[in-house]
């Protein structure tokens, strides 16, 4: 076993932190307050090379391995980038772009991947439905083939980036009787007749990411927009899980490092009863809890990333363990960080309040903690 990172990886991580602190973090609180998507920061992520980090250079990507890509996510969190932007990045790069890259034709790759890598276009993935969350096979959206077109009907919900997306990977049933084997995936572009989005949902946290419903009403899309073959959709959606359990969790780990630094700085400066609150053991305990969570979670997500780099099939039990741990155990440190800041922690002026709200998504998004427990208990 070897847990070391290369010097290049370590330097790259420092560069990302420096970049994010300078270009993105100063804007975070304002955009969170107004629940707005920060197009400029998103574009800068593309310019810096983060959006397309793991794609081959010939498609405008950085050619990085999975571990480095996960490290980038951790670095964004460590720099203080908000959960909304890192979620938008994850939905864009891993749920949308990666699916197109992995399952799309050469023509589809050339058409979409460079624009998604640069951030010129924003992507999203339409999978969840009002009555089909983790139970994907219950999906009701349909895609009926008519000549050289598919006619999409149905609706999606909780779709990250939908209101701002230029392109969406949408899952629908081409064979409604075949349950999960009847699910197919399609590329749907903004402006396609019959495709509309709802108003952005009002969310507790990750507010800079825009989340909404998607509606498909006799939405006609060219047959060549089918990804892979009919019936491949379920497996495609499962493959995003590898990213979901590594790169999408990485910012939560990075944020724990950010919280630790912010809390330590605050604890050194804040004086009560004639001494800095850092001198109180209760404060040290909170700092310790934040550090311990970050250290424990880190190994879990890099294990998933390393296995993916080795070409090993995803170990669903280990993936669910990573998701469950980061989801459920991140709540405590976020709470500790907020309380450590006292009244200030409850106010938007200090970003602990936002981080606490952002953290609440961890046990919900991408399969709730209960779903992870179901997976683990079935596989053990």
């Amino acid at each position: 076993m070897d847990f070391g990172f290369t010097k290049e990886q370590q330097m790259f991580k420092k560069e990302i932190i420096r970049f994010a602190k300078k270009e993105i973090v100063p804007r975070v609180q304002e955009f969170d307050l107004h629940k707005q998507f920060d197009f400029e920061s998103f574009r800068k992520l593309g310019e810096f090379g983060i959006l397309g980090l793991h794609f081959p250079e010939e498609y405008g990507g950085g050619g990085a391995d999975v571990v480095t890509t996960v490290m980038a996510g951790e670095a964004l969190g460590e720099a203080g980038v908000d959960g909304g932007l890192t979620l938008a990045y994850g939905a864009h790069s891993f749920l949308c772009a990666d699916t197109i890259f992995k399952h799309g034709s050469e023509e589809q790759r050339k058409k979409y991947i460079p624009k998604l890598c640069s951030g010129e276009w924003i992507g999203c993935m339409g999978l969840t439905e009002p009555d089909a969350g983790s139970d994907v096979a219950s999906m009701k959206s349909t895609a009926e083939k008519k000549g050289d077109k598919y006619i999409l009907n149905g609706s999606k919900i909780f779709i990250t980036n939908a209101p701002v997306a230029d392109v969406s990977v949408v899952y629908a049933k081409t064979d409604p009787d075949a349950k999960h084997l009847g699910i197919s995936a399609f590329i749907v572009e903004k402006g396609t007749p019959g495709y509309t989005c709802g108003e952005p949902l009002i969310k507790m946290g990750v507010r800079t990411s825009q989340t909404s419903e998607q509606f498909f009403s006799n939405c006609e899309i060219p047959a060549e927009n089918l990804l892979g073959s009919e019936g491949d959709g379920f497996n495609m959606s499962l493959q995003t899980v590898e990213w979901d359990r590594s790169a999408l969790l990485a910012p939560f780990v990075g944020v724990s490092t950010y919280m630790l630094k912010r809390c330590a700085d605050y604890a050194k400066k804040r004086v009560q009863f004639g001494r800095s609150i850092g001198q109180f053991q209760a404060t040290k305990r909170k700092l310790a809890n934040i550090r311990i969570f970050g250290e424990a979670a880190r190994s879990l997500i890099y294990r998933i990333a390393w296995c993916k780099d080795q070409g090993k099939p995803l170990n669903h039990l280990e993936a669910a363990v990573a998701k469950l741990f980061v989801g459920d155990w991140s709540m405590g440190p976020a709470n500790d960080a907020m309380i450590l800041h006292g009244g200030y922690g409850y106010c938007h002026e200090y970003d602990m309040e936002r981080i606490f709200r952002d953290s609440r998504l961890a046990p919900i998004g991408g399969g709730t903690s209960d779903i992870q427990k179901m997976i683990i208990s079935k596989l053990m």
Partner: protein, 377 residues
């Protein structure tokens, strides 16, 4: 980067498991009965026939130092916590101290028997106040010619009553030292601590040294730059971290197997979501602990400057997880775990030791907090 043990390491773990399990089946070591002491000594000898006791002390073929050691620790602690504690406090505390700071003569005389398992050692670190992390060592050695006269009182010395040689940690001329005292040395009295909550087969004792004499060449010193007590605590914390992994493995696997076989309402209890989810949380804590413990062990070897804080993080997380996992295992077993000898009940009792001993979880958190604040020890 590499997140997997090698095939050779896996093979070693399996051989080790088979050997310890077979021995344990015919030689009870955790019941606290009269034979435990003898059986454990036999168990340590058995371990001496494998590379186990050498790990972390000298090079072992196909092994990756402390990383392999952490995996092997889990295996032994899962089968017999008492054997584990005895072997570890002998080899990985006194043995490592001899390997790191001892001279050739001391290694020949004291280290080799520990590695071979033919002798058991002990390290007496805890003072009467227990805490040596933020209070000075009270035991002292006074030089008189080529003799050192040792006085002091130590508590909770694992292996005290069965140790052939005891490393007494104290000071001489104001500097830290380890005094190598024979188990039957005049001036040394050992009072076995009876009725321990867990580790029922291990021998734990109080120790009083009154003008106990040793030759000067039985004194171990560290370099001026080193903090001997911190290093010893780090090693002890590694031992307790490894123990936690084994206790979690034993608890989780026993509870899982029980939940699959025990039926109520016409179906195995694992089919009930409350039990299935409980096991899922237990496994999550166990696997997370494994990864953190192994990474901390790797860091101790490759990036020692970062090891102290990370080892404390691992120690707190793993020992607290072990207490929780073994407690949940007790609940899954229901009444049957509460009566009579049961590996889950013993694991539950042993898990409590991990949180309190070494650097206690409370003190560990303060130290981790200090590190975050930039406060140097």
């Amino acid at each position: 980067m590499n997140y997997e043990y090698s095939q050779k390491e896996f093979e070693f773990f399996i051989e080790l498991y088979q050997m310890v399990s077979a021995y344990s089946a015919s030689h009870p070591m955790d019941t606290g009965g009269a034979d435990c002491e003898k059986n454990i000594q036999g168990g340590v000898e058995k371990l001496g026939q494998t590379p186990y006791l050498k790990l972390g002390v000298s090079d072992v073929e196909n092994a990756n130092g402390l990383v392999t050691l952490m995996g092997a620790m889990e295996v032994v602690a899962a089968v017999s916590p008492s054997l584990y504690l005895t072997a570890e406090y002998s080899m990985r505390l006194l043995g490592r101290a001899l390997a790191k700071w001892g001279d050739e003569k001391q290694k020949q005389a004291f280290l080799n028997p520990l590695i071979s398992g033919s002798a058991i050692g002990a390290l007496a670190l805890c003072e009467q106040t227990v805490n040596v992390d933020n209070e000075p060592l009270a035991a002292t050695g006074e030089k008189q010619g080529s003799t050192v006269i040792i006085s002091g009182r130590k508590q909770f010395v694992v292996n005290g009553p069965v140790a052939k040689v005891i490393g007494v940690v104290g000071t001489c001329d104001g500097k830290p030292a380890i005094f190598l005292v024979d188990g039957d040395a005049p001036g040394l009295s050992i009072n076995r601590t009876e009725g321990s909550f867990g580790y029922k087969g291990a021998c734990i004792s109080e120790m009083i040294l009154e003008n106990c004499r040793i030759d000067e060449d039985r004194m171990i010193r560290c370099s001026e730059k080193e903090d001997m007590v911190s290093v010893l605590r780090l090693w002890e914390n590694q031992i307790l971290t490894g123990a936690s992994l084994g206790l979690m493995r034993a608890s989780f696997e026993s509870a899982r197997d029980y939940a699959k076989s025990h039926k109520t309402g016409g179906k195995p209890i694992i089919a009930y979501q409350e039990i299935g989810f409980k096991l899922a949380e237990m496994l999550t804590l166990f696997q997370t602990s494994q990864m953190l413990a192994i990474r901390a062990a790797w860091t101790a070897e490759k990036q020692p400057r970062e090891a102290f804080d990370l080892t404390l993080c691992a120690k707190v997380f793993c020992t607290e997880s072990a207490a929780r996992v073994s407690g949940e295992a007790m609940n899954i077993f229901g009444s049957s775990a509460y009566f009579g000898a049961n590996p889950v009940e013993h694991a539950y009792c042993c898990a409590r030791y991990g949180e309190s001993f070494g650097t206690s979880t409370e003190l560990s958190r303060i130290k981790i907090g200090d590190a975050a604040l930039g406060i140097k020890p």
